[in-house]
């Protein structure tokens, strides 16, 4: 507060001029900082890619390798459904070459952000385009072609978690590869090579799942949220969800239904995604005496998981182990 000295007549030293000067400086710096940097990301010769959330980040990094700089928008530990981009994010996007997102309602904010960005050269990739979408278990009929917004299950018709089926993941990787080739043709060989490598890995993952599924003695899993539709339908599993709408606890009668179901079908584990609160599944597990297990929807990774070097593949392998434990033999 040292601008506030009293002057001889007893008034404060700060006068209108100073106030105006300070305000103008603040206003200008604000305007300047919110202007796009305008550089087209060719700082170190790498392409600048913005991805919406973790899975896209992982795929983009794998395909793009050391030719790209990938920036993930949804921070570690946050759920992509809840996240909203800030003006800073929009500004950053203006300086990007590629924007990669999943689509099918996963990122409700995409339309807004793409409109707001003033970069005609930005290539926007909706990786789920072309994938056959499943309806979400709580689909509401849309009245008038309302834009698909926000939360999965909220007003939403389709289950957006397409990448949980390795075959879909392959299509998404292909979309990314195609976009990279389009933007950076001279490295297309590099991108093709990476794509083929990971496509093979995905095929291998799919094979492992199919083999394991043959040994499952049960076909039902009880889950906190119905996020695993693609995974389940690919391998003949049925998901019984506590509540298919994210956020908000289930009602008492739903809890009872699930508990009864668990007891009647001798279910041994209840799954949740590992990042939301496990309170409800803990309560059900405590009452029925079963285990709580993690079945990740690979939506977001915590900072520790990232440090530990986990990625889509390692998590899907973990998922497979968890499923096998719950569904294989052993009465």
């Amino acid at each position: 507060m040292n601008g506030f000295k009293r002057n001889a007549s007893g008034g404060f030293g700060i006068n209108t001029k100073t106030v105006t000067a300070i305000s103008l400086i603040l206003v200008f710096s604000f305007i300047l900082s919110s202007c796009g940097t305008g550089d087209t990301g060719a700082d170190n010769g790498k392409l600048t890619i913005y991805t919406s959330f973790y899975v896209m980040y992982d795929f983009a990094t794998k395909i793009g390798g050391d030719k790209v700089n990938v920036i993930n928008m949804v921070p570690a530990g946050m759920e992509p459904h809840d996240w909203e981009p800030s003006p800073k994010d929009i500004a950053g996007l203006s300086g990007a070459d590629l924007f990669i997102y999943s689509g099918a309602g996963m990122e409700g904010w995409v339309d807004k952000i793409v409109e707001a960005v003033n970069n005609k050269n930005l290539v926007v990739v909706e990786t789920s385009k072309g994938i056959t979408l499943r309806e979400s278990s709580h689909s509401h009929a849309h009245e008038d072609g309302e834009a698909n917004t926000g939360h999965f299950g909220d007003e939403y018709q389709y289950d957006p978690h397409v990448w949980l089926d390795p075959k879909n993941a392959k299509m998404q990787m292909k979309a990314i590869k195609d976009a990279l080739v389009q933007v950076d043709g001279k490295n297309s060989g590099y991108y093709e090579e990476n794509y083929n490598y990971y496509a093979a890995k995905l095929d291998e993952l799919d094979r492992k799942y199919r083999e394991a599924a043959k040994t499952f003695s049960r076909k039902e899993i009880v889950v906190a949220h119905a996020a695993y539709g693609y995974l389940c339908s690919a391998y003949g599993i049925e998901q019984i969800a506590l509540d298919s709408i994210t956020g908000g606890e289930p009602t008492g009668s739903r809890m009872k239904e699930i508990i009864d179901y668990i007891r009647e079908h001798d279910i041994r584990a209840i799954f949740y995604d590992g990042i939301s609160s496990s309170k409800t599944v803990d309560a059900i597990a405590a009452e029925t005496g079963i285990r709580v297990a993690v079945l990740s929807a690979v939506e977001g990774l915590s900072a520790e998981d990232l440090k530990a070097g986990k990625d889509y593949f390692s998590i899907m392998e973990e998922n497979l182990r968890a499923l096998s434990e719950a569904l294989q033999q052993g009465e």
Partner: protein
């Protein structure tokens, strides 16, 4: 034994719900009669901000909610006693601060977690919460019973109370802290939106029929327990969210008692008529 009681999670909901239903109107009667209902709202919102802060910084959200609420309540009380003119507006400012801060912080926190503090988590009470509520109930009831007479006097006529030698300042501070703790802990269980209603509705219904202060307190506890128990039962059999059902039961009850009061000859009058000398 009816179906509803065959499930642990419902029994926990009843235990915790009933305990909270007992203590909230004890606080609520004093708050409403001191014309401080807005304080209840303000503290719920501040608790929410506290929860958000706790979730963001990795501190137990109930603890941070309590800390925020206690600090806020003591500040409001201090302003009220020093500058009574600003008492109401400072409470309103505090409430807005709570809402604003909660909204900002909610951007950094998963909405599912956050929502569970708004709407409560009655269906998934864990051990920690159960024991916390039991301890809270014991403390609040004990203190309330001990301070019952003093609170009555202070609420009715603060100036006389002071002259009569009652330690008004101390009691007010203790009560304020108790209010803050009750609201913040209860918010975890029934949700901030429900807590404010539970402070006011049972008292409002009780005042329709009570014929003394003691009756006001007792009836508001009874009504509150009734709202919670029937709310839980309705929500279970009608597949509705428990928090909202409890509040709606209260609202419907209030409307019924108000209407019943209008029936001529029922002997119940809302408007106090002055008797003869």
């Amino acid at each position: 034994m009816p179906e509803i009681f065959q499930y642990d999670f419902m029994i926990n909901a009843f235990i915790v719900g009933i305990l909270i239903a007992i203590i909230i109107p004890c606080i609520g009667t004093v708050v409403v009669l001191r014309r401080l209902s807005i304080m209840g709202d303000a503290l719920s919102h501040i608790s929410l901000a506290g929860v958000a802060a706790g979730l963001v910084f990795g501190i137990n959200p109930i603890l941070s909610a309590v800390v925020f609420a206690v600090i806020a309540s003591l500040s409001i009380e201090k302003i009220r006693s020093k500058i009574p003119k600003y008492g109401e507006i400072s409470t309103a400012v505090m409430m807005s601060f709570g809402i604003g801060l909660a909204a900002i912080l909610s951007g950094f926190v998963s909405s599912a977690n956050f929502n569970s503090f708004l709407f409560g988590s009655l269906m998934a009470i864990n051990r920690f919460e159960k024991y916390l509520v039991i301890c809270l109930a014991v403390v609040v009831l004990t203190v309330f019973i001990l301070m019952y007479r003093a609170l009555f006097y202070i609420t009715f006529d603060e100036e006389s109370a002071r002259l009569a030698g009652i330690p008004v300042k101390t009691i007010t501070i203790v009560f304020t802290v108790l209010t803050a703790v009750t609201i913040s802990v209860s918010s975890r269980v029934v949700g901030t939106l429900v807590v404010s209603s539970m402070m006011v509705l049972p008292v409002a219904v009780s005042m329709q029929i009570a014929k003394s202060y003691k009756q006001t307190v007792v009836f508001s506890v009874l009504f509150s327990v009734f709202f919670v128990v029937s709310g839980l039962i309705f929500s279970f059999y009608l597949d509705l969210k428990p928090g909202g059902t409890i509040v709606m039961t209260g609202v419907i009850s209030l409307v019924i008692t108000l209407l019943a009061g209008k029936i001529p000859g029922s002997g119940r009058r809302k408007i106090a008529l002055r008797g003869d000398d």
